[in-house]
Amino acid sequence: MEPGEIHALLGENGAGKSTLMNVLYGLYQPDEGEILVDGKPLKLKGPSDAIGAGIGMVHQHFMLVPVFTVAENIMLGAEQVRGGIAGFLDRRRARREVTEVSERYNLRVDPDAVIEDLPVGVQQRVEIVKALTRDVDLLILDEPTAVLTPQETEELLTVMRSLKAAGKSIVFITHKLGEVKAIADRITVIRRGKTVGTASPEASRDELAALMVGRNVRLTVDKSPATPGDPVLEVAGLVVDDDRQIRAVDGVDLTVRAGEVLGVAGVQGNGQTELIEAIMGLRPVLAGTVSLAGERIDGWKPKKVLRAGVGYVPEDRSVDGLVKEFSVAENLVLDIYDRPPFGAGLALKPNAIAASAKERIEQFDVRTSSADAAVGTLSGGNQQKVIVARELSRPLKLFIAAQPTRGVDVGSIEFIHSQIIRERDIGTAVMVVSSELDEVIGLADRIAVMYRGRIIGIVGPDTPREEIGLLMAGISPDVAHDAVTAPAADQPDAAPAAEKPGVADGSPASADGSASEDEA
C-alpha cells in the first residue's frame, strides 16, 4: 500500500478478503507470515495495536452500539477523561472532536443522535468518522456498499476520493466490479485465500471476473425474448405488516404472466421480503388479494400454496430454505416427503428418496461428497443449488426466487440463472427479487422497483441503471427519467435531488424522524 492510494481487494464471497483484513486489524492472529509497516514487521495482538499503528476498519456489519449516541460510540475505547482515577467522560470534548472531523472531511453527523434511529448510510458515516478521529493512515472498508442505495454509494465514493486527497490510504473490499473500476488505483484479486493477480482499473470487467473465478464466465444472462402468456400471479392492493407491526407493504399491485420473469428491485428493507412472504402465506394479508391462475390464495397455509404449484427460494437459505443438519437427500424432498413415492402413511421410503436425490444431484450439478452428507457442509452455492433443485422438481405455475444468488460463487450464479430462464421458457411465471441490480436487469423481462412498501415504477430491462437507481431511492419515475435523460447538466441536478430521500430512507422502519436527525 502506498500513501494516498485506494487499493481494491476483489474476490468472491468466501475468498478470504474479510479474514485477511481482520488479521490486519488484529482481530484474528496469523498462523504464519508477517505484516510490514514502513518496512518494519508489525505484531498485532489486538485491535488496539492496529489502531495504534494507524489502521482503522469499517466492518461489513457496523460495529456501533445501537443504544449509544454517535459521540459515545466514537469515544468508546479512546475516551478523553477528567478526574484522574475516577475517569469522568469529557463529553464536550468528544462532541467537539466529532464536529471537527465531520466538518474537515465533509461527513455530516450529529454527535447526539442515537445510532439505532439513524439510517444505514449515516451509520456508515459514523463508522468512518470513528476511524478518522483515531488518526488512521490506512482505512479498511469491508464491503461498504452492500447496504447502500446507488446514490449513497456515489456519496461514499466521493468521501473516499476526498480522504485520498487528504493523504489517507484506503483498502476497499468488494465483489462489485463496477465500483472497483470507478475508484480504485490498484486492484488485487483474491481467490480461495490466495492472491491470484493484480490489475489496474483499466482492466475490463470480464478480465476481472475471470481472475476472480479462475475461468471465463458470462456476466450477462443468455436469453431469448419472453413470450408472455396469461396472468398467473395477480396481486391487488396488498397490505402487509412486518414483525414489528409496522406497515411494510402498502398497497402493492402486480401481475406476473406465464413465461415471463418479473424482477423486483429495491434496496433491502423496502417491503420485498414481506411481499413474498405474504404471497407464500407465511405472513398475514391485512388487505388486498393474491390470486394464482384466477384462484384466490390469500389466507392459505404455505403448504397449500406450495402444493398449488408455487416454487419458492427463500432469501435466507440457512434459516428458511434448508435444514442444515439434514442430508442433501432429505433436504431435496422436504416439500413432498409425505407423498408417494417418497412417503406412505407414517413411513418414509429411503430407497426412493436416495434414487431421486442421485438423479437431481447430477441434473443440478450439486457438488457434494455424497447424497448423505449434511447439507450444512456444502458451500453456499451448492446449498442454493439444492434448494433450486428441490423447488424446480415439482410442476410449477409460479416460481418465486428471493435473492437467488446471495453469497453464491460466480460459477453457481451462472448455473442458477440459466435454470431460472429455463423455467421461464417452459411457461412458468417467474418472480425474482434481488437487491443486486445487475441480477435483476440480467434476468427480468420487466422490472418492478419497490420503495417504502410500494411499487414505485415498472420499467423495461433496457432502462438505464441510473434511472432504476433513482427509483430505488424513491424518486418518482418521471423525475428519474428526466434526471437521467436531461443533457449535460443532469449530474449536479440529479445528485442533490437524490440525496435527501436516498439518505433518509434506510429502511421503512427507521424512516420516522430520521431525516430531521440527519440535519440536526
Partner: protein, 423 residues
C-alpha cells in the same frame, strides 16, 4: 445492519394505547377502593403519626371519608389517563393514582383496626421499608453491575447468603466488624468468581450456572452452620455489630431524620453505592465500557476494549457488593441462620428488572418491595383481616406487570447472557 428489534414499540396501537389500558385498570382500582374500602372502613379517625408510636403530631382523617376520597382521586387519575394525557404526564399521573389507592386502603385498614390501634407510625414504617429493602438494594446493584456487562446474575441469592455467612463467621472469630465486612465481600466475590469462570471462560449457560450456585451456597453454608457454627455459637456465630452512626444535620430532618439517619451504616452505604454506581455507569469511562460490552461486545472489541476483562471485573465487583449486602444482616441485625436470605436474592432480581437495569430504578423498585414487606408486618400487628401472604405476593406480581410492559418496555442489555467468543 440488524438492529435488535425487541424494544421497538408499535407505532400505531389504535385506540387502546398502553396509557389507556393502564387508565382503565386504575379506574377499576379506584372504583374498588371508593366503594369497597369506603364501605368497610369505620368512622374512627385514621391517624398517621409522625413518630415511632401513637404519640406526637399526626395526620388524621375520618376512615370512611378518607377511603372514599382517595378512591375518588384514583378514579380521577384513571379517567385522566383514559381520556388521554401528554406522554410526559403518564408516569406522574400513574404515580398519583397508585399512591391514592394505597392511601385509601390504609384508611380502611387503620380505621378498622381494633380500638386503640387506629394509628400508623410513619417513622417506623419508613425505617422498616428501608431496612427490609436493604438486601434488595445491594442485590439489585449486584445485578446491575453484572448484567450491564452482559453476564446474567441469577446467583444474587447465593452471593448474599455467602456474604452473610462469611461476615458472621470471620467477624465472630476475629471479633472485628471490619474483618467481617471484608470477609463478607470476599465471600460474595467467591460465588461471583465461580459464576465468572464458568460463564465467561467455559461458556456454561449463565442462568443454569446461577441457579446451581445458589444451591451450592445454601448447601455449603447450611453444612458449615450445622457442623461448625452450632458446635460453638459463642465462638463462631456471634459477630460484633456495627454501632449506630448518627449523621449530623441529616438526623434532624423531621420524619426522615429519625427514620433513616440515626442508625444503620449499611443503609448509608447502600444509598451511597446507588449514587456511585449510577454516576459511574453513565458518566465515566468504566461505565461506557461496561455498557458497550453488555450491548455490543464485538464493537467494543474492535475498539480495543478488553471484553472478557471488563466482564470478569464487573462480575467480581457484583459479588463484592452482594457480599456486603449479606453482611447487612449478620453484622448489623441478626446472627446467621440456615438459608437466612430466604429468597430475597430473587426479589432483588425482580427489582433489577422492575428498575430497568438502572441503579436508581432498582433502588425505587427495592423500596417498593420493601414497603410491601413492611406493610405486611404492620397489618399483622394490627391483626388485619387481609392475609399477609397477599402482600408477600406483591413483588412478584409487580414484576410480572413490569415485564408485561406496564411501566414502559423493559429492555435488557442486548448481549445480556450471551457469552463472547473471540473471532
Amino acid at each position: 445492519m440488524a438492529v435488535p428489534d425487541i424494544a421497538v414499540a408499535p407505532v400505531d396501537e389504535g385506540f387502546w394505547t398502553r396509557s389507556r389500558k393502564v387508565g382503565l385498570t386504575l379506574l377499576g382500582l379506584g372504583l374498588l377502593s371508593a366503594v369497597l374500602f369506603g364501605a368497610l372502613a369505620t368512622d374512627q379517625q385514621a391517624r398517621f403519626t409522625l413518630s415511632d408510636d401513637a404519640a406526637g403530631a399526626a395526620l388524621e382523617i375520618n376512615g370512611t371519608i378518607g377511603a372514599i376520597l382517595f378512591g375518588i382521586i384514583t378514579i380521577a387519575a384513571g379517567a385522566a389517563l383514559l381520556a388521554g394525557v401528554p406522554k410526559r404526564w403518564f408516569l406522574p399521573v400513574l404515580g398519583v393514582g397508585l399512591v391514592a389507592f394505597v392511601l385509601s386502603f390504609l384508611c380502611w385498614q387503620v380505621s378498622a383496626a381494633p380500638t386503640g390501634q387506629n394509628f400508623m407510625p410513619l417513622v417506623n414504617i419508613i425505617r422498616g421499608t428501608f431496612i427490609l429493602a436493604l438486601p434488595l438494594i445491594f442485590g439489585a446493584l449486584a445485578g446491575v453491575l453484572c448484567e450491564r456487562s452482559g453476564v446474567v446474575n441469577v446467583a444474587i441469592e447465593g452471593q448474599l447468603l455467602m456474604g452473610a455467612f462469611s461476615g458472621a463467621l470471620f467477624g465472630s472469630i476475629s471479633g472485628s466488624v471490619w474483618v467481617g465486612l471484608v470477609a463478607a465481600a470476599i465471600g460474595g466475590a467467591f460465588i461471583s468468581l465461580l459464576l465468572a469462570v464458568f460463564a465467561i471462560r467455559y461458556l456454561v449457560d449463565q442462568v443454569v450456572m446461577g441457579i446451581v450456585l445458589n444451591l451450592l451456597a445454601v448447601g455449603v453454608t447450611g453444612f458449615l452452620y450445622e457442623r461448625l457454627m452450632q458446635t460453638d455459637a459463642e465462638k463462631y456465630n456471634s459477630a460484633p455489630r456495627f454501632s449506630n452512626w448518627e449523621i449530623p444535620l441529616l438526623k434532624d430532618i423531621p420524619v426522615l431524620g429519625p427514620a433513616l439517619f440515626r442508625g444503620n451504616i449499611f443503609l448509608y452505604l447502600g444509598l451511597l453505592l446507588v449514587l456511585v454506581i449510577h454516576i459511574g455507569l453513565f458518566r465515566t469511562r468504566w461505565g461506557l465500557r461496561t455498557r458497550s460490552v453488555g450491548e455490543h461486545p464485538i464493537a467494543a472489541d474492535t475498539l480495543g476494549v478488553k471484553v472478557l476483562r471488563v466482564r470478569y471485573r464487573n462480575v467480581l465487583l457484583a459479588g463484592v457488593v452482594a457480599g456486603i449486602g449479606g453482611a447487612s444482616y449478620t453484622l448489623a441485625l441478626y446472627s446467621f441462620t440456615k438459608n437466612m436470605i430466604g429468597g430475597k436474592g430473587f426479589i432483588a432480581l425482580a427489582a433489577l428488572i422492575f428498575g430497568r437495569w438502572n441503579p436508581t430504578g432498582a433502588l425505587l423498585a427495592a423500596l417498593f418491595f420493601g414497603f410491601a414487606d413492611q406493610l405486611a408486618t404492620y397489618l399483622g400487628a394490627i391483626s388485619s383481616s387481609i392475609p399477609s401472604q397477599f402482600l408477600a405476593m406483591l413483588p412478584y406480581l409487580a414484576t410480572i406487570l413490569a415485564v408485561a410492559g406496564l411501566v414502559g418496555r423493559v429492555r435488557a442489555p442486548a448481549a445480556d447472557g450471551k457469552p463472547y467468543i473471540k473471532g
